[in-house]
Amino acid sequence: MDGHEVDIRMEALLKVFKEETREIVALKEFSLDVGDGEFVCLLGPSGCGKTTVLRIVAGLETKSGGRVTVSGVEVEGAGSNRGVVFQEFALFPWRTVRKNIEFGLEVKKIPPHEREAVSSTFIDLVNLEGFENAHPHQLSGGMKQRVGIARALANDPAVLLMDEPFGALDAQTRNLMQKELLRIWSATRKTILFVTHSVDEAVFLADRIVVMTARPGKVKRIIPVALPRPRERTSSEFISIRGEVLEELDAEFAKTMMREMTDASVQHKA
């Protein structure tokens, strides 16, 4: 933990989704600490509960058991100290770029001229000068996510929760956005909990990579990435860490596959 203060603490999280006919245990005994200013990537096969973890921390989902604290305060519902960046961008289509970024400031009843100053700062930070008055549907995917990041940051949250934020982007834009994110991170030093299912992305971004088990999700292994930034994807260290992470994951992917097949056969029989 590099002597960092703990910023997000998840202790023995349990999450059970109750459906009509069955219960799904999405998380069980999930524990993780994220340090102040740290960049942590959550990695795992799809359906292992990454989004669920993030949503519980964000306060958008209730937990069935365990404890979550952010900056030492127990999480209860959503709040502006935890900024969230969504894979689907989730921009308000009827608001301009600027108005989207100012949304959280409006909630806080910050006067218009101050809001404008703040939004201008973040428009600059994410390189969206000239698009202040554009509506989301006029922007490319990468630009939309820049707005999403700026909107979350404008609220000055303690932590940034990002759920596959670049998942909907093409490979090139994705790589660019990863670099941009690192630049923004180093400028703001926010604590970031970043969900991805891309090993490459995780190794490129994270201080630590948290590999989750297949459902019910818990921490399988934490792999620190001690490479200096900017990281070279072609460097041997990068490749060797990637190999290490992949190995951890492969086992879980196999489990997932197995279960999906048995699930299907059970359903088939039923």
């Binding site: 964000a58 958008l60 502006s80 989730a90 308000f92 009827w94 909630v107 806080k108 989301p136 609220n155």
Partner: protein, 274 residues
């Protein structure tokens, strides 16, 4: 005013192909009508005069604007204004009830559970059926407005409910993580999201409102109105003028919904939705 002109222009500014096809379709209709009239007259049908030639209707249409009626001294423009007033009144009442009701029913399951049965009971009843009741209970002013109201109310209500229910949950989540709660969430996310749906409801409602105007003005045969005009002229057997009145309603309906759908289209575009 300028923007209104723009809107109307937009409503008719379709591409050439569409315009040509529209003209063709109209030409086919008018020719078929002309031939039917010919046929009736040639066969000395008893009701040949009930299907006047298109030309006679066109003449009557023009005359209806020029020559005041001997009974009430009104010309067509007076009737248009009278009908517009009724439509507007029904519309204002429908809007002011349907919007809050729709927002409530869309937001709360209890409100929906309470409201839906009533809505479902009243929705299928044709406005015509209410005439005797509305006439006696509501009288000549409110009665006709109530008939128009019924036509406009349901499309607005259902579209508002739909809008509220369709609000993208991810937008609600996003707003929540930005600190938005209850009233703010409602005003800043639910309400804007519902606005284009409301506009769709208004567009559909106004169309149905015009369909109800004849029925409405059978309740209150006073003060004029295009529906009143149609009834009055059919009472004395001037069928060319009756069809002129029917054409007038069609035109007014097309204009109203045309403008409304332009507003709707622009609203959707401006809000970046759909």
């Amino acid at each position: 005013m300028l923007s209104l002109v723009k809107l109307v222009k937009g409503a008719i500014a379709l591409n050439w192909r569409q315009l040509l096809l529209g003209a063709l379709s109209l030409a086919i209709f008018v020719s078929a009508w002309q031939m039917y009239s010919w046929y009736l007259n040639a066969n000395v049908s008893g009701y040949a005069a009930y299907v006047p030639y298109p030309g006679e209707v066109a003449e009557a249409f023009v005359d209806s604007f020029v020559t005041p009626a001997g009974t009430d001294g009104l010309v067509m423009s007076d009737h248009i204004i009278a009908s517009l007033k009724r439509i507007f009144m029904g519309f204002v009442i429908a809007l002011s009830i349907a919007v809050p009701a729709g927002l409530l029913m869309g937001s709360y399951i209890t409100a929906e559970g309470l409201g839906m049965p009533i809505v479902e009971i009243f929705r299928p009843i044709p406005p015509l059926a209410w005439i005797p009741l509305f006439l006696v209970v509501l009288g000549y002013l409110k009665g006709p407005a109530a008939i128009v109201f019924l036509g406009i109310f349901f499309p607005i209500l259902f579209n508002v409910i739909l809008g509220v229910k369709r609000v993208d949950p991810i937008l609600i989540d996003a707003a929540k993580t930005l600190g938005s709660k209850k009233r703010h969430l409602f005003l800043k996310v639910v309400l804007p999201y519902t606005t284009p749906y409301l506009m769709t409801g208004i567009k559909v409602g106004l169309g149905i409102g015009w369909m109800c105007i004849v029925a409405a003005e059978m309740v209150g045969k006073y003060g004029g109105g295009v529906g009143f005009y149609i009834w009055d002229r059919s009472d004395i057997g001037q069928w060319d003028y009756v069809f002129a009145g029917i054409a007038m309603i069609a035109i007014l309906g097309i204009l109203t919904t045309g403008v409304a759908s332009q507003v709707e289209r622009r609203l959707y575009a401006w809000m970046g939705m759909k």
